[in-house]
């Protein structure tokens, strides 16, 4: 039996719309568990709450109700700074729009989570180079984000998510801004990290073909889990 990395118990997340007292429930009592080393796709139409589910899982957002555990530790009661530390050490995020810092080079962007963890610039950059090499960007160390293609930027983002050797990589529509070819290379990279380095990979997507490649698909509809199924014969 594999250890559980993420556990959500009856999680509710409510957003106030424009402060007008109108509330939307992005999550309505979701309970789900993700084991270490799993490759999970969260799929659903836009506005279904799939991104919110991932944000709550990844400690980027806190639930209004219910309990969240990461690696056995309850996070729903932690302070903002404690959540930041968990994001920094246990979770790597990859976003649809890459979210690199424009003024920094690829290596500096990758080194960022390590520098935030108190590692010196030199050591952090050295390790960043190693990870940029790992994602196939050894020619792009000193390039700024605007000098790179979307696919390259997303691979820099993946290198950044890896640098503190997290348990899990969470991708929010990681291929959403990419052409098919670059998208496939990003997905392959994530799959490789899952298979070879046993990283837990959770991606949010609205692309069913992409979801079908995962070990498990969690379908979200109107803030609830509509379907949770394991893919036995996925075509990779």
């Amino acid at each position: 039996m594999k250890e559980i990395l993420f556990r959500l118990d009856n999680v509710w997340k409510t957003y106030k719309m424009m402060g007008k007292g109108v509330e939307t429930n992005a999550l309505r009592g979701v309970s789900v568990q993700v084991k270490k080393g799993e490759y999970v796709a969260i799929i659903g139409p836009s506005g279904s709450g799939k991104s919110t589910l991932m944000h709550v899982m990844g400690c980027l957002d806190s639930p209004n109700k219910g309990r969240v555990f990461v690696d056995g530790k309850e996070t729903s009661t932690l302070s903002e700074d404690d959540l930041a530390r968990i994001r920094r050490r246990k979770i790597g995020f990859v976003f649809q729009s890459y979210n690199l810092i424009q003024g920094l080079t690829a290596a500096e962007n990758v080194a960022l989570p390590m520098r935030l963890d108190g590692v010196g610039k030199k050591d952090a950059l050295k390790k960043a180079e190693k990870y940029l090499l790992r994602v196939g960007l050894k020619e792009r160390l000193t390039h700024k984000p605007n000098q790179m293609s979307g696919g390259e930027q997303q691979r820099v983002a993946i290198a950044r998510s890896l640098i503190n050797d997290p348990e899990a990589i969470l991708g929010d529509e990681p291929t959403g801004n990419l052409d098919t070819k670059s998208g496939m290379s990003v997905i392959s990279l994530l799959e490789e990290l899952n298979k070879k380095e046993k990283k837990t990979v959770v991606i949010v997507t609205h692309d069913s073909r992409l979801a079908a490649r995962a070990d498990r698909e969690i379908h979200i509809k109107d803030g609830n889990i509509d379907q949770d199924r394991t893919n036995h014969n996925h075509n990779k």
């Binding site: 944000h55 980027l60 957002d61 903002e80 700074d81 930041a84 530390r85 968990i86 994001r87 920094r88 050490r89 995020f93 976003f95 729009s97 979210n99 690199l100 810092i101 424009q102 003024g103 920094l104 960022l112 989570p113 520098r115 935030l116 963890d117 610039k121 950044r160 503190n164």
Partner: protein, 376 residues
């Protein structure tokens, strides 16, 4: 993470330069204006150590309301010979030195006629000469401060005109003689002739037999001579301090307004900077930056701007003060940037900037990473 702050400042050069300029102007204003009151303060303190603390000044009483026109055009009524003699004969008076004091050059410098053997009571005995020396009591000459010689363009052997009479310059004090820079001294007997004041004095300087009776003697003089005012060194210093305090309040008031304007510039800059950087702040938070890191980054930027602005402002002030002393005041040391003023101004610049950056920094800290990343 200092490099991120520096990078950001470099990326927005115009904004950085303009904000820094605000700080520069504020600090230059504070230090330049403050240097004048600091310099006067220093001079007051200096005069205390030069002139003995037991000396009593006596002059004709005057009513402030009688003064018309600028204070420099104001001339005291003179003390008559009988009065001088009467004071001289009082018990407790060791010596009473009559002085004929005139303001010249629109109050810019002061001429004092005094017995050349008594100049120690004036604290002038230690003055060093650049050229020439003291006139003797029977000489028809004068010794002047270096800046006066520069302003009038005269040297030893040249003549200056006083009350339509030619007076020979016999000595020029060493440069930077402090409070004597703007003073000219001539023998009392000659001053009597030049200013038509036979046996009279504009003021008396009195040395008591003992320092312990200064206050008593002062009161006795005022009691005996209702039309005279006596002032001890302590009184004089208190008056001077009151004046410099007023000056300080004025200068720092102007500086305060300037720094408030600069501070508003900073708050706007930092606020804009935070808004423009919402996405970057969101990313930093998403990849695990704690609140302190975000706060620090904003504060680092403001510290860099304020330190840079304050130091440049301080440098400029040295330049302005030098100009003020040498060009406007003809080589005096009136304006003075003391270490306290310099450090104080820089510290003030940094502290006020940091304080005014707290609000924008707080906005940055409160940024919701999800919203910032999604909406920029």
């Amino acid at each position: 993470m200092l490099d991120l702050a520096v990078k950001d400042l470099k990326e927005h050069k115009v904004r950085t330069v303009l904000t820094t300029l605000g700080v520069i102007i504020a600090i230059t204003a504070i230090v330049s204006l403050g240097s004048v009151s600091a310099g006067i303060n220093e001079m007051v303190t200096e005069s205390q150590s030069i002139v003995g603390s037991d000396v009593i000044f006596v002059m004709k009483s005057f009513d402030m309301s009688d003064m018309s026109g600028p204070p420099t055009s104001f001339e005291l009524e003179s003390i008559k010979e009988e009065e001088i003699e009467s004071i001289r004969s009082m018990s407790g008076v060791k010596r009473a030195v009559p002085i004929i004091s005139k303001m010249l050059g629109g109050g810019f410098f002061e001429i004092d006629g005094i017995d050349m053997n008594e100049i120690d009571i004036f604290g002038a005995a230690d003055i060093q000469f650049k050229e020439g020396g003291w006139p003797d009591n029977d000489d028809e000459g004068i010794a002047i401060g270096y800046p006066i010689s520069q302003a009038l363009d005269v040297g030893v052997g040249d003549y200056i005109v006083l009350n339509k009479k030619d007076v020979e310059v016999m000595g020029i004090f060493e440069e930077e003689s402090g409070m004597y820079d703007m003073v000219a001294l001539m023998p009392y007997s000659y001053a009597e002739d030049v200013f038509d004041m036979e046996g009279e004095a504009t003021q008396l300087m009195i040395e008591p037999d003992d320092v312990s009776i200064v206050e008593d003697l002062k009161n006795a003089i005022e009691e005996d001579h209702q039309d005279l005012d006596a002032m001890t060194m302590a009184d004089a210093l208190a008056m001077a301090r009151e004046m410099t305090d007023t000056l300080s309040i004025m200068t720092f008031g102007i500086g305060g307004v300037a720094s408030l304007v600069a501070a508003i510039g900073i708050i706007i800059t930092m606020y804009t900077s935070v808004l423009e950087r919402r996405r970057q702040i969101g990313i930093l938070k998403a990849v695990g930056a704690v609140r302190w890191v975000i706060l620090k980054q904003i504060l680092e930027e403001s510290i860099i701007i304020s330190l840079l602005g304050s130091l440049i402002g301080l440098g400029l002030s040295f330049f302005f003060v030098d100009m003020l002393n040498n060009v406007l005041l003809g080589g005096t040391e009136l304006a003075l940037i003391t270490p306290t003023l310099a450090f104080g101004a820089v510290a003030y610049g940094v502290i006020i900037t940091v304080v005014f950056s707290l609000y924008p920094a707080w906005i940055a800290v409160k940024t919701d990473p999800i919203d910032a990343i999604r909406n920029g």
